[in-house]
C-alpha cells in the first residue's frame, strides 16, 4: 500500500540526518574521495583538451578546450552521482547493514533514499566545482556566468542518482553495476556530445540521444561555460527533472520491496 505522496521526495529533517552522516564520512576520507572524483576528469581535460585541442582548434564557435571542459563537467556530475548512488548506497544497504540500523529509528525508506539522493547530487556538485576551478585556471571558462552551471550540476546529479538508486535496489552484488556502466553510462559518455557535437552523429542516433539525460545536461552546461546564448532551457530542465523524480520514485518502490519484507 503505497500512496503517491510517499514516492515524491519528502525532504524532512530525517533525510538530512542521512545526508549529514554521509557528509561526515566524506570529510573523514577527504583526500582519497577528492582524488578519485577529480583525477579522471582532470586527465581527460589536460590530455584530450590540450592534445586534441591542438589539432581541432575551435568546435561549435568555441575553443576545443572549452567545448571538452563543459562536456567533462556534465559527465563528471553523471559519474560521481552514479557511483555514489550505486557502490556507496549498496555498501550501506547490504554488506554494512547501515540501513537496517537506520530503519529501526523513526526514519522510513523514503527518508533514507532522499538523504542518499541529495547527498549523491551534493557530491556531484563538489567534484564539479573542483573541475570548474581547474577549467577556469586553464582558461576554458568564459567569465563568472559559468557559476550558473553549479545548480545545473546539482540537477544532473539528482537525475543520475535517481537511476543509480534504482540499480542499487535491484543489485544482487557489485557485479550488477558493471552492466549498467558498460551498457548505459559508457555509451552515453561517448554519444551525448561530450567530445563532439551530437549533430555529427548519424540521424537515427541523433534521435536516440535526445532521450538521454546526459545530452540535455551537456546542452545546458556548455553555453553557460562558453558564454554563449542558451536554448531550449525548459526542455532540458524538464527532461533532467523527469529523470530525477521518476528515478527516485521507482527507487523508493523497489527498495521498499527489497527491505520491507
Amino acid at each position: 500500500m503505497t500512496e503517491l505522496s510517499h514516492l515524491l521526495p519528502r525532504l524532512r529533517h530525517a533525510a538530512f540526518a542521512v545526508w549529514r552522516r554521509n557528509a561526515l564520512v566524506f570529510r573523514k576520507f577527504l583526500t582519497p574521495s577528492l582524488f578519485i572524483n577529480f583525477g579522471e576528469p582532470f586527465i581527460y581535460l589536460l590530455g584530450l583538451g590540450y592534445g586534441l585541442g591542438m589539432f581541432i582548434g575551435n568546435m561549435m564557435n568555441m575553443p576545443y578546450l572549452t567545448f571538452l571542459a563543459s562536456g567533462i563537467l556534465a559527465s563528471a556530475a553523471m559519474n560521481t552521482a552514479s557511483f555514489e548512488a550505486m557502490y556507496s548506497v549498496y555498501t550501506r544497504m547490504v554488506p554494512q547493514r547501515t540501513y537496517d540500523a537506520i530503519l529501526a529509528t523513526p526514519l522510513e525508506i523514503e527518508d533514507v533514499l532522499a538523504g542518499e539522493w541529495l547527498w549523491s547530487a551534493t557530491k556531484s556538485l563538489i567534484s564539479a566545482a573542483g573541475i570548474l576551478a581547474v577549467a577556469g585556471v586553464l582558461g576554458a571558462v568564459d567569465g563568472w556566468r559559468a557559476l550558473w552551471t553549479l545548480p545545473v550540476i546539482f540537477l544532473i546529479g539528482l537525475s543520475f542518482a535517481g537511476i543509480g538508486l534504482i540499480m542499487s535496489a535491484l543489485a544482487r552484488g557489485y557485479d550488477f553495476f558493471n552492466y549498467y556502466m558498460t551498457l548505459v553510462l559508457t555509451p552515453m559518455f561517448i554519444l551525448s556530445g561530450v567530445f563532439y557535437p551530437v549533430t555529427s552523429l548519424p540521424l537515427p542516433l541523433q534521435t536516440i540521444v535526445q532521450v538521454l539525460p546526459l545530452t540535455h545536461a551537456v546542452e545546458l552546461v556548455r553555453p553557460l561555460m562558453a558564454g554563449l546564448p542558451l536554448s531550449n532551457v525548459a526542455l532540458h530542465v524538464a527532461v533532467l527533472t523527469a529523470y530525477a523524480l521518476s528515478g527516485f520514485a521507482i527507487a523508493v518502490l523497489l527498495t521498499r520491496r527489497r527491505l520491507l519484507v
Partner: protein
C-alpha cells in the same frame, strides 16, 4: 498494568510459506518479556513486525496503544532496538556512532551532550570513546549496540538474541546491564535460544515454534507445569540404568544424543538405586527451562 504491546492474530507469509501463524502477545509495561524458540521459529519476524519493519499479512498490532500500520514512526521514536547482527557504522568511532544515531531521532545539542557520557559509562566504553568500530571485541560491540539503542531514552527496548556468540564474561556483563535497564523502569522484549538467559532475565515468556506460540507464563510456572522438579542426567550403560529405575513410581525417561534424562518427583529414591552401579554416572540437578523447552519443541536438530 497497562500493556505496552498488544498483538492479535499476527500472520506473516513469504509466498506459500507461513512463518508466523496467528500469534497473540500481550506485553505488560516494565517487565522483561522473553520470546523463546528454536532457529526458524518466527521470533525475528515477529520482532520485525512489532517495529513496522516487516508488514504483517494479517492481525492487529498496537504498541504504546498506537496501531503499527499508521504510527510506525512514533512507535520507533520511543523504542530502542538491539539487532541480532552487528550493524554499527564502521565509518565512525564509538562516540560518533552514538552521536550519528541520535541524529536519526532528531536528538542533538545539549540533550545529546549530556546523554553521551552516561551511555559510554553504561556500556563500559568510556576510555574507548574514540576507538574505531573494527578495533572492538565482540562483547564491546554488543555493549555499544545496547548503548546505541538507548540514545532516544526509549520506553521499550527490543533485543534480538543479545548475547549470541559472546563469551561467558561478556554475557554476564550484558545480563547485568539488562537488569539495570529493567530496574530503571524500561520494558524489555528479548528473543533468545539460551534458556539460562531467559530464566535469569525474564519475568514472563512465550515459547514459539513453527510460527506459533506453544506456551506462556513465568519461567517457574512453566517448569512446574511441564516437567518434574528434579532431573538425573545419566551416562554410561543406558539400558542398565533404565532397568534399575523403571520400577520406581513417577519417573520419566528422555534420551538426547548419548545422555538419558530421568525426570522425577523423588530423586533421592532414584539416587539410592543407582549408588554402587559403577557403569552408570549421573548428575543430579533441579529441572530448568531447557527441559521445558526441549519437551515443548522436541529434541530433533534444527537448522
Amino acid at each position: 498494568m497497562t500493556a505496552i504491546i498488544t498483538a492479535r492474530g499476527l500472520v506473516k507469509r513469504y509466498g506459500e510459506r507461513i512463518v508466523v501463524r496467528g500469534v497473540d502477545i500481550e506485553i505488560p509495561a516494565r517487565c522483561c518479556f522473553g520470546v523463546l524458540g528454536p532457529n526458524g521459529a518466527g521470533k525475528t519476524t515477529t520482532l520485525r513486525m512489532l517495529l513496522g519493519q516487516s508488514p504483517m499479512d494479517d492481525g492487529a498490532l498496537d504498541v504504546f496503544g498506537l496501531p503499527i500500520r499508521t504510527h510506525g514512526r512514533d512507535i520507533r521514536a520511543r523504542t530502542g532496538v538491539v539487532p541480532q547482527t552487528d550493524n554499527l557504522d564502521p565509518d565512525f568511532t564509538v562516540v560518533e556512532n552514538l552521536r550519528i544515531y541520535a541524529r536519526y531521532f532528531g536528538i542533538g545539542g545539549k540533550t545529546l551532550a549530556e546523554r553521551i557520557p552516561a551511555l559510554l559509562e553504561f556500556a563500559g566504553l568510556t576510555d574507548r570513546a574514540d576507538a574505531g568500530i573494527n578495533t572492538l571485541s565482540g562483547g564491546m560491540k554488543r555493549r555499544l549496540i545496547i548503548a546505541r539503542a538507548l540514545v532516544n531514552d526509549p520506553e521499550l527496548v527490543v533485543l534480538d538474541e543479545p548475547t549470541t556468540g559472546l563469551d561467558p564474561q561478556a554475557r554476564h556483563m550484558i545480563w547485568g546491564r539488562l537488569r539495570a535497564l529493567r530496574a530503571a523502569g524500561k520494558t524489555l522484549l528479548l528473543t533468545t535460544h539460551y534458556m539460562e538467559e531467559a530464566e535469569r532475565l525474564c519475568d514472563e515468556l512465550v515459547v514459539m515454534d513453527d510460527g506459533r506460540i506453544l506456551e506462556r507464563g513465568t519461567p517457574a510456572a512453566l517448569i512446574r507445569r511441564h516437567v518434574e522438579p528434579e532431573v538425573l542426567e545419566l551416562q554410561g550403560e543406558a539400558d542398565k540404568a533404565r532397568a534399575t529405575l523403571a520400577p520406581l513410581p513417577n519417573g520419566r525417561f528422555e534420551a538426547v544424543a548419548d545422555t538419558y534424562y530421568y525426570y522425577t518427583h523423588d530423586a533421592r529414591a532414584a539416587i539410592k538405586q543407582l549408588e554402587g552401579q559403577a557403569a552408570i554416572s549421573f548428575l543430579h540437578r533441579p529441572a530448568n527451562l531447557e527441559d521445558v523447552f526441549l519437551k515443548l519443541t522436541g529434541r530433533d536438530l534444527r537448522d
